[in-house]
């Protein structure tokens, strides 16, 4: 049967374009502009989905995506809303969450278990025995659930866009259009968005007045005429984030919008009434029936009952009547009925109106796949239906118009508040944050003329606000006209909820919660709105409580004997409507830094590792050798011949100016005032609590010029702190971070001097350039700073040159060192070499509490200094006994070895931990560094380390350094 109505003005379908599509394996036809639900309803298909838990038959309900009844998958995407999904040729949609199809869903028997499945049942029943939980969970997931993910699906690229405007207006209904016009004509750049494919909001479907079409056209013409209003339909404002950063979604992209102000004119969600079988196909919101008629030209029912508590319900009855539906009755919850002109029109249409009546139940037809009647009950003085005086009315549809709630999620997210207003019996915005405006029904204004006036008011208020923000005075804008106060009867009913003991009267259709669940939860003590939500899961389904939260709060308020305002509401969080992950997913941009020598490492097929943002060679693999052997060989070659390592990732700072030495003395623990020009000193830095945060080399190039190295991963933060201290202390220093501008390499080993010699004019003789010296000169023609350091424990030179020379100098060193068997070495070999020398790595061998005394580097603290960062704290710490010390450990060959962070156990207590370990040192036996209790720190002490499998390894405390204790080799 075709339920399509004759063409009507303003309809959204294109009758010239017929579209064939499939639903549940059967072929149907609709028109371009139809959504899946409208096209199916037009073909008289009423069973459109099954509910989440009980697999109840469900049909069209809001036709606005405010419910989750019609959820389908198309083979590629899942959980698509039938209310919003445009039909396109070839669409092959299947309902989610059925076993064997929608019609014969094998899980439909679940409903009969419903009485044994009160809310909270799962929490209580399936917790014991714990072992069986995976079994329960697996089966529950088969029964209750939504769509399946197709793992074979390859996501489309989803572009990300950016947009900017002065004012975002959300909702292109009468209030939003008026607001955009007022703001646009005041000179603001306005972006006007509406989630539906066409503008107009309720003007397109709700009022039914013949004057409204031209009225909408008039507003749209003014929008188009104003050059600075951009209208985007099919675009939802998904979430509001700080300072008017708003996520806009259309069907294919995320737009990151930065507005200067936000105006919410997003209207209301129509709210359902609660009565028995209020979820079955054929029971729908009045607005859904009107959308069917006016947008899609579909006759909703043949014979209808309208449940009304406002003038909108009478308008629904008139629209149904005009569409050829036999309106059997209007049940008006209000004893006094409708006071407006609409009542007369309904009477003239011959529609019987029952004042003070509600719907007791919808009467299901076969298989509950449609309804065949309704019971009308008079309400007693308490508002409860008198089922004993029920009157049965044959019908195939019930349209509900009992109230509204503002679509104000964006306002809440922006920090706004809502208050329950008795003149409208619903929530209205009470506090709007700076730069956030509300208009129209979202603002509690219902009359059409009032809504347009309220839009204009809000648009002008936004313009005044932004004008003030722009001016240098930054004052508050002049107070504009107040919000228009609703006159007449409230558009919402205070309690459209009718108990029918233990029967299927649904409060939340997403989660299959009925009225009794709330009473049970309340009895269990869940009498707070947030607790009730979590226990019952009300509002936690796919439509996020758009149709259930308000009724849940009304129920709870009544159970508590409290007002709605005292009961409170839950917070609406982004996104307004579900968003495909595809639209959110993006490429991950992560900074990656490569040194100037990187092309050479690549040619050598070096195995690279991430160190902070940097990529560094871990080691250079060689044919037929394992990783460990390669690393060992690289280290051995440094000890024996000469090695070359890229240390370009080190922090490289310049500290210049008259106060440079004094500044460094305050930053570092050591003394630098009397440091000779041309010499290096070790620098150790603590934070204000006396914990080691950095170490490096301080080179004095001139009285007022220092060159400082810092750790690869710590330099950015450390340099920032230096800048801050320089400000606080008001010292005359210039700080610059040259890390990225300079390449650096360390040529180290007994032959390093010979290898470097032929590339530089600088006198490298031990007398002219001793250990811990610094020289400025040239290397292979490049201006260079040469530093004689001993990190790896051999004669060695760090060569720092401008980045553009880096590769050239590196290659020159490789060439010059060839006859001395020069080999590159990577980070792992360097870690081994420094461990042999007992040099700690900050962050590896120290942690967030390590003091210089614990790390055995107190020698780096200058005696008698007036101040350095952390000094005063160390004075306090030093009054207490030391709790641990960093020591060396050696292991006999063949011993099972611990890993870093394994614990040292003494007398059953934790007595330390391994911080670094090298199984294959060049010393011929394994070595490690570890924190141990001070009483275990004496060289020769045996310590036991617990391994992963619970067994113990034994190591022996050794004096550091392991290698070359006199440091003769590096001098």
């Amino acid at each position: 049967m075709d339920r399509r109505l004759p063409p009507r003005p303003g309809e959204w379908i294109d009758r010239g374009r017929s579209v064939e599509f499939r639903f549940e394996g059967r072929t149907y036809r609709g028109f371009a502009g139809d959504v899946l639900a409208s096209a199916l309803w037009a073909s008289d298909v009423r069973l459109l989905g099954r509910s989440f838990k009980y697999h109840r038959p469900r049909g069209l309900y809001s036709l606005a995506g405010h419910d989750a009844n019609v959820m389908v998958e198309d083979g590629r995407r899942t959980n698509l809303r039938g209310d919003l999904l445009p039909i396109v040729p070839g669409l092959d949609a299947r309902s989610v969450n059925t076993a064997g199809g929608l019609e014969r869903d094998r899980l439909r028997f679940m409903e009969w278990f419903g009485r044994f499945l009160p809310v909270g049942f799962y929490y209580k029943a399936f917790h014991t025995p714990r072992l069986l939980f995976p079994f329960y969970e697996n089966n529950m997931r088969k029964i209750a659930g939504l769509g399946r993910i197709n793992p074979a699906n390859t996501p489309d690229d989803s572009p990300k866009d950016y947009a900017f405007c002065d004012l975002l207006v959300v909702g292109a209904g009468p209030a939003g259009l008026a607001a955009a016009i007022a703001a646009g004509e005041s000179g603001l750049r306005v972006l006007l968005v509406d989630e539906r494919p066409r503008p107009g909001g309720s003007l397109a479907w709700q009022t039914g007045d013949s004057a409204n079409g031209p009225r909408l056209e008039g507003l749209l013409a003014r929008v188009r005429a104003c050059g600075n209003i951009e209208l985007r339909c099919g675009t939802q404002a998904g979430g509001w984030y700080a300072d008017h950063w708003i996520a806009l979604f259309d069907d294919r992209r995320l737009t990151k919008l930065r507005a200067r102000a936000t105006l919410v004119a997003a209207g209301c969600f129509e709210q359902p009434a609660v009565f028995r079988n209020n979820d079955l196909p054929g029971v729908m919101l009045g607005s859904a029936a009107q959308r069917l008629i006016h947008l899609y030209a579909v006759k909703p029912f043949d014979r209808a009952v309208v449940l009304a508590a406002n003038g909108d319900g009478y308008r629904v009855a008139l629209d149904l009547h005009a569409a050829g539906v036999d309106v059997a009755a209007v049940a008006d919850l209000r004893r006094e009925g409708e006071p407006t002109e609409l009542a007369r029109q309904v009477a003239e249409a011959g529609i019987p109106v029952h004042h003070g009546h509600g719907v007791g139940a919808a009467i299901p037809g076969a298989g509950k796949k449609r309804i065949r009647g309704a019971t009308l009950c008079p309400l007693d003085s308490a508002g409860n239906p008198r089922t004993d005086r029920a009157q049965r009315v044959e019908c195939d549809g019930i349209a509900m118009s009992v109230g509204w709630t503002p679509n104000g999620g964006l306002i809440s997210q922006a920090g706004g508040r809502f208050v329950y207003a008795e003149n409208v019996e619903q929530l209205v915005p009470s506090i709007l944050p700076k730069g956030v405006f509300a208009a129209g029904r979202a603002n509690g204004v219902f009359d059409l003329d009032d809504r347009i006036a309220d839009g204009t008011r809000a648009g002008l208020a936004a313009a005044a606000h932004l004008a003030c923000t722009d001016s240098s005075t930054n004052g508050t804008p002049p107070a504009g006209p107040e919000r228009i106060v609703h006159r007449g009867p409230p558009p919402s009913h205070p309690f459209p909820i009718f108990a029918d003991k233990g029967k299927k009267n649904f409060v939340d259709l997403d989660e299959d919660l009925h009225l009794a669940d709330f009473a049970n939860a309340h009895q269990e003590g869940y009498d707070n709105v947030e607790l009730l939500k979590r226990f019952t899961t009300v509002g936690m389904g796919p439509s996020q409580g758009k149709l259930s939260n308000v009724n849940a709060v009304r129920i709870l308020a009544r159970l508590n004997g409290a007002s709605i305002n005292d009961t409170g509401t839950t917070t609406s969080r982004p996104f307004h409507q579900p968003v495909s992950l595809e639209l959110l997913a993006g490429r991950r941009f992560h900074p990656l830094r490569r040194t100037p020598i990187d092309p050479w490492h690549a040619r050598m097929s070096a195995v690279m590792m991430h160190v902070g943002d940097w990529l560094r060679p871990e080691y250079y693999p060689r044919e037929g050798r394992s990783r460990d052997v390669c690393i060992h060989d690289e280290a051995a070659n440094v000890r024996r011949n000469v090695g070359l390592i890229d240390v370009g990732t080190l922090g490289k700072l310049r500290i210049d100016g008259p106060d440079a030495a004094a500044f460094l003395e305050r930053i570092y623990t050591g003394r630098f005032g009397k440091q000779a020009v041309g010499s290096l000193r070790y620098g150790l830095a603590c934070d204000e609590t006396g914990v080691i945060i950095e170490d490096g080399i301080i080179a004095r190039l001139a009285d007022d010029r220092f060159y400082v190295s810092a750790t690869t991963s710590g330099v950015a933060e450390f340099f920032r702190e230096m800048q801050r201290w320089a400000l606080i202390w008001g010292m005359d220093v210039r700080l610059s971070n040259s890390t990225g501008q300079l390449a650096a390499m360390n040529v180290a080993g007994p032959h390093s001097r010979e290898a470097l010699h032929e590339l530089t004019q600088t006198d490298l003789s031990p007398e002219a350039f001793p250990y811990l010296g610094v020289r400025e000169g040239t290397v292979a023609g490049a201006p260079a700073i040469l530093l004689r350091v001993g990190f790896v424990g051999e004669l060695g030179y760090e060569v720092h040159v401008p980045a553009s020379y880096g590769l050239h100098v590196w290659q020159s060193l490789v060439g010059a060192g060839e006859r001395f068997s020069i080999q590159p070495f990577g980070v792992e070999a360097q870690r081994l070499l420094r461990l042999e020398k007992g040099h700690l790595i900050v962050g590896q061998d120290t942690d967030a509490l390590t003091t210089p005394d614990e790390a055995d580097v107190a020698w780096a603290i200058g005696k008698g200094k007036p101040f350095f960062v952390g000094m005063r704290s160390l004075e306090i710490v030093r009054k207490r006994p030391l709790s641990r010390r960093l020591v060396g450990l050696t292991f006999a060959n063949g011993t099972p070895l611990p890993e870093e962070c394994h614990l040292i156990i003494a007398e059953g207590e934790i007595a330390g931990r391994i911080t670094s370990i090298a199984p294959n040192s060049t010393l011929g036996h394994p070595i490690a560094m570890a924190f141990v209790r001070p009483d275990l720190a004496e060289p020769g002490t045996a310590v036991r380390i617990r391994l992963d499998d619970g067994t113990f390894s034994e190591g022996r405390v050794a004096k550091l350094p392991f290698y070359d204790p006199e440091s003769a080799r590096q001098r």
Partner: protein, 88 residues
């Protein structure tokens, strides 16, 4: 995403900034008792209200002071260190 007004670079997005903690005055290390020093080092004033905080605009290395109301997360004023002394 939040916008912060850097006194040098103007309005910039939050991700360009690093929070530097509450603005505190170091007591004289020589005069302060151990308890006073520990209070300076470890304790922060988290009570609701208008806070003076260090912020750093990272790309330009600009440290500055912000007055922020931590009840509304609103930046009331930003200025370079030293510039706000006259009135505070």
């Amino acid at each position: 995403m939040k916008i912060i007004h850097c006194p040098i670079n103007g309005p910039r997005p939050l991700q360009e900034f690093r929070f530097g903690g509450e603005l505190r005055t170091m007591p004289d290390p020589a005069a302060a008792s151990d308890a006073e020093w520990a209070d300076y080092v470890f304790n922060r004033r988290g009570e609701p209200g208008v806070k003076r905080e260090w912020w750093c605009h990272v790309p330009s290395g600009t440290w500055f002071i912000a007055e922020r109301d931590n009840r509304t997360d609103e930046f009331l004023r930003t200025f370079l260190h030293g510039a706000g002394r006259a009135d505070g």
